[in-house]
Subunit: 250 residues, 2 copies
């Protein structure tokens, strides 16, 4: 007994409704799904609040453009309780990322097509160029890793990694003001990113996996050092200004 929202999402999937396309009128859709318009509307409201559907009064209901940053911003709102939880989950998340993203790099090296390679190089350039805004830099990092995940041509893998990024962003925005920027980190990260892309573009799957593993191990240890420093600073009671910047999701 799938929920009505799931039924609607299934309807969208089965009818190949691309973002921007219109759903059937509520009265008709309610009829085809065998429910009343009241109930259908309650379900649609949920999908609207999730950013899956946008509604235009008098016009119709449409599949939302998933590209909007707003959708992402909204996706991480309900995760706030997790961010406030003791310690956070980033240790757990990093462990999983090491599993999933190394495999993503591996499969990307095996399966990437020309489109994927083009997107990958573009994303790499964007993340290396850097951005003044830390949030923008984080987005660029996430986009880079998502490009790898999508190049793996494993939809479920891409979805899971995307979900993990949503979780990570929370802890980032939460502790952004408390993090230190480590010296030489940016250069090291760019170098690691480059190595991953090189291996993928060359189709060297095992190299890609190893490069991704090295990268994530480095990120994890850096984050751990940052956390330790923060803890030490808290213990010392010292409150000096911190210049936290990009590199959180590298």
């Amino acid at each position: 007994m799938p929920s009505l929202t799931d039924q609607i999402e299934t309807f969208i999937a089965q009818h190949q409704l691309a973002p921007g396309e219109r759903l059937p009128p509520e009265r008709a859709l309610a009829s085809t799904l065998g429910v009343s318009r009241s109930r259908l509307r309650e379900a649609i409201q949920q999908l609207i609040s999730r950013g899956i559907i946008v509604s235009r009064r008098g016009g119709g209901n449409f599949v939302a453009d998933g590209s909007a940053d707003l959708a992402l911003e909204q996706a991480l709102r309900p995760l706030q309780p997790l961010a406030q939880a003791e310690g956070g989950y980033w240790h757990d998340i990093m462990e999983i990322r090491k599993s999933l993203e190394t495999d993503a790099a591996y499969y990307a090296a095996l399966r990437a097509n020309d489109d994927d390679r083009q997107r990958l190089t573009k994303a790499l350039a964007a993340v290396c160029a850097g951005a003044a805004d830390p949030a923008a830099q984080s987005r660029a990092d996430a986009a880079f890793h998502m490009a790898i995940a999508e190049a793996s041509h494993n939809l479920v893998l891409a979805q899971v990694i995307s979900g993990l990024f949503d979780l990570l962003k929370i802890s980032i925005t939460e502790s952004l003001g408390k993090l230190h920027k480590l010296p030489d980190t940016v250069d090291a990260l760019n170098d690691q990113h480059q190595k991953i892309v090189d291996a993928i573009l060359a189709g060297r799957a095992e190299d890609a996996r190893r490069a991704a593993a090295d990268h994530l191990t480095f990120v994890e240890s850096s984050l751990r050092r940052i956390e330790d420093d923060a803890a030490r600073a808290r213990r010392a009671g010292a409150l000096r200004s911190t210049h936290s910047q990009e590199g959180i999701l590298p």
Copy 2:
């Protein structure tokens, strides 16, 4: 002008409603907010989907106590439509399982405590004992693998694997009638399960990882063979009765 959902949240704040406390009945609340119950309910549905409110049929609406589990569940929500999509994604899912579950076995070997070991041996016994009902056997298999995931003491990992099982269950029930039971499969699976548990209980992390990898590779190849057979049977146009049974989630 604030949205109705905001008005409701304001109402909760102004009336000092702590998590677990009850909101006024919908009819009364709609009256005090000056809207119809239809509209109020649509707003409440949004708050429910955000995890801010929980509803008990016949009981009332209550302020939810925001838990981390809910946040995780919502982060992985976009996976649901994939499960019901045409063709199924079990290839993709198996790839991810190979990533995640090998790591789960690895970490379980490192971190399992006495409770975990006890649950693990019990789950192993249950899955080896077998069950007449295929659905029950699938549940036992899933429980076994979840026990490993929980023993890894990585909450996010356990949650993701649990979500993947939900996905798999759907594709199983979808194609249950079309699958063949392969000879000698059950014995092989039990043997593999035993090897995994042995390694975990002994704390041999790398062995556990390898055993899990072997197991999942075997499962994937078996499933692939089943799929190929089914395709061949379809091509031949032969419609003989198929005895699909357990072993789908082993």
